[in-house]
Amino acid sequence: MSAVHELAPRAGGFAHQRIAAAVMIAFFALAPLVAYPVFLMKVMCFALFACAFNLLIGYGGLLSFGHAMFLGTAGYASAHAAKVWGFPPEFAILFGTACSALLGLVTGLLAIRRQGIYFAMITLALAQMVYFFYLQAPFTGGEDGIQAVPRGKLFGLLDLDSVWAMYALVFAVFVGGFLLIHRAVHSPFGQVLKAIRENEARALSLGYDVNRYKLLAYVLSATLAGLAGATKVLVFELASLTDAHWTMSGEVVLMVLLGGLGTVFGPVVGALIIISMENYLAQIGSWVTVVQGVIFVICVLTFRRGVIGELGRLIGKPL
């Protein structure tokens, strides 16, 4: 975890981060004027997913290799709620998110006592179990997934079949989730979390029940990953096995590493790069994976801090 330490932002002087946040929000507010809204919505969903993952690894020092289970679970739960039970979109999203939070609590209780690579392994194992459950369970539609999920009307008013209404919702969810994570990192809880990552034994000796703090970080991360998954399902009107597959867990690791582990904006940039690549390189088919692998290797070998991590180092301020 030494890379995490190197990247830990220093105290004080967050004005530049406010500016960067304003730039990011303006970007997603204005970008649909020139780029495909669906593409941007996808980016925002994955950016939130990556930010949630980063909360756990970057600030809690916990590497989960099973985060797809939260993306996938919220996806299936909200799709089922919207399509079969006729939930309005806000409740479908809420329900999906709550399911992931609960899954986070259950898997967290099992995983949180393990350290380092053992934690990663157990999260992977749990995620695989969840995946096979979805593969077998009848309500998920197996390989077909849950298709034609109705977007419905937000609060009974706003028809989400309008792309702009949908965009506004995703934008609000993304910005809200991003700000919540930012707040959590800079809260009394966030302080303890940082202390635990920095020196767990010392935090313990000061009387902190470190496992509870880690568990809360894990559940928060799972919840926000779920929020991303539930929202994404409404965008694409589809819940599928892809979201629960282990490659999705790997992809979010890639996004965060590429953008900058433990940075505020790195996960967003990482998501933007990876999703752009997948979209614009779609013609080359499965070679996308190879290209991603090569980029990953280059990233690890040359700019270990990720795009935003290196940028922050250049300007001498954490981003």
């Binding site: 707040r183 800079h186 809260s187 009394p188 303890v192 920095e198 000061l206």
Partner: protein, 251 residues
Amino acid sequence: MAEDIILETRGLRKEFKGFVAVGDVSLKVRRGRIHALIGPNGAGKTTCFNLLTHFLSPTRGQIFYNGRQITGSSPAAIARLGLVRSFQISAVFPHLTVLENVRIALQRKRGRSFDFWRTDRSLRHLNSRARELLDAVGLSAFEESIAVELPYGRKRALEIATTLALDPEMMLLDEPTAGMAHADVERIAALIRRVAANRTVLMVEHNLGVVENLSDQITVLSRGEIIAEGDYRSVSAHPEVIKAYLGSEHA
């Protein structure tokens, strides 16, 4: 009962795969005293500390704190009872500022910090107390420094300030002056004496000058067993102690 015992162990033992690091140690620490635990390298002093604070589970034996058994309590729960330890290898939060290091300890006393929705500006009211503590260990000028950048001796001082922030009833200090420059040793020794005025201190210390100066009671450990107990004078004249120290130096 004439003497007021704050900490007591009965037949405390720790084996590592058959190797006895601590063998049947029965120790009594009186309230309000500075009690030194000394002994040659590998005697089992740090292991004792780890047992007392449940960073390790004993193979056998019991630990009582304020008459209450704490043998099975979690490390965090033991700390919250007021028995707080420091570490032999300096234990700071390396990438937090010096002020934040102390504040983490102060923050614990406000209760559980699960409030992730609140801004950390709500912790600012702890800053003045944190500064007082830093002042006491001579770190006032460094409050904005990142802890990892401090020289070793100052890291130790920061660690003591952090421990003190909890205002513990009893402190376990594992070699508080190790690696410090002479002037710092004096300052830390004076500080320990000052803070011990209203609390109990159990410390491991290799600097015998500091031990002689500070401690009311000394327990000498060798190969995991208590070989002598008493004040500095009686302990330093004890033949077993002389043998143990000479033995280790010639080893």
